[in-house]
Amino acid sequence: MSSNWCALLKYDVIIIGAGLSGLAAGIRLAHFGKKTLIMERHYRVGGLNSFYRAGGYDLDVGLHAVTNFNSKGLKSAPLSRLMRRLRIKEDDLELCPQKESRITFPNVSLNFNNDIRFLTQQIEESFPDQRDGFIRLIDNIIRMSKDGFLQKADSGRKFLKRFITDPYLLEMIICPLMFYGNAREHDMDHDFVALMFFSLFIEGLSRPQKGIRAILDLLLKRYEDSGGELQTQSEVVKIKLKDGSVSGVITGSDELIECDAVLSSAGIDETYNICREVGNNKLITPGVMSFAESIYILDKKPLELSIDHSIIFYNRSTTFKYQKPLEPINVDSGVICMPGNFTYNEPQTKEEIRVTHIANPNYWIDADQGEYTNSKMLWHDRSLDAVSEIMPSFRENIVYRDMFTPKTIKRFTGHTSGVVYGAPDKIRDGMTSVNNLYIIGTDQGFVGIVGAMIGGVEVVNRQLLV
């Protein structure tokens, strides 16, 4: 490495990526007086959870719902503790709870809301002999939540089988957990099953009154008010090492910015790729789980079409296949989100439905422009065909539609293969083989936007503030 760069700037910490984890980490660092710079390659903050304007509509991407709804306002709840770390009032998030969601498989549907007793009742009705096991599962997971879900790596299916002996019910319960955060094909890690079950079923789902944008604005304001700096459209192309430690980063415009530490939310593999010196120390298995999402704007509220659920997780066959599909999109399963069907404090004009399916990243990334455009049209239709089998059709009411694919995700997040939940093997504590380079975000494995923020805060607390 030549030393022609003339460093004009020096920071205590540089954070790669202005997603939820980077912003949360940045707030903590800036608040406690560290000179901090967040570098974001996109022109907008948010990473996987962002928003855009198209066809005259403001559209959210990524976020279906926020997990860890703190319905009892407990100070010990993860969301409450996180907000105290960020010095943001929990109420300012304006989270509004889901109404009722549904898991629907052939011949059986289970409804759930933010009171786990309701799901327990639903299970008792359809699977009477599974009720007691399910209650023991809940107790077990609540106990695990008190130790921060630190478990040795083990199969999540095996863990669930200890409590749920009916394989069909097991598939139905694991389906939402996987859709909302699993980087691994087929199975899910024991601790993530517990963490997701707690976050999604025990604490529950909500949406911010004003969408993801309001949360991002809140975080960004808090970060900048604390003295943190942000550069958008600014890419880190190389992490520069000196004597085995990070000494700075090289930007896309070939500038050197010096720093004492780097927090990277780019992903494990992606981070090692721009820091070649450590590339051979660890073998990373990249993730393959990616998704395509159709966004529909309707001329009526979904409620007026008798679509009254908040979120529907569906699967059309008796076994649930969570794996990279051979076809471009697997419409046999999916998640349908009705952002308007949450209990908002102020009425909303959300006439929107979002449908997410597992997609094959290679197909979408490799397709040429013509095939890409045609395939989007074709798969919109196939997705709508599948969805109309499990809920009232809204095809005739669509006034605007858009689709994002693994290619879109790759473009906006920089994640190899457009993976959404990163690599299957996670680094919880963020440590890498370089002592002042840390991983935050998706590849820490704390899922959802709450998890992403908790992960960022924990790395900062443990590694950079004490």
Partner: protein, 83 residues
């Protein structure tokens, strides 16, 4: 700083961390954590705010000194009286 101003400084810090807690009736003899809903991370934040605002280092072995309001003031007085 006097005992009174140190007390005010501590109250201000706690108030920033847990803004919804009523701190007006604190018993200065009793452990803070029995009276306010503070977890270990909140407690660590108090220590870090002291560092940030007054450049006072509280080493981990001294954390026990910060259990009640009175013991906290006793502990901080020699470090803060010259500020």
């Amino acid at each position: 700083m006097t005992r009174e101003s140190i007390k005010a400084a501590i109250i201000e810090i706690i108030n920033e961390i847990v803004p919804d807690e009523d701190l007006s009736d604190l018993d200065h003899q009793k452990p803070l954590r029995d009276q306010i809903d503070l977890d270990s991370m909140d407690f660590l934040d108090i220590v870090m705010e002291l560092r940030k605002k007054y450049r006072i280092e509280v080493p981990e072995e001294d954390y026990d000194e910060l259990s009640t309001m009175n013991s906290t003031i006793d502990y901080l007085l020699p470090k803060m009286e010259s500020l």
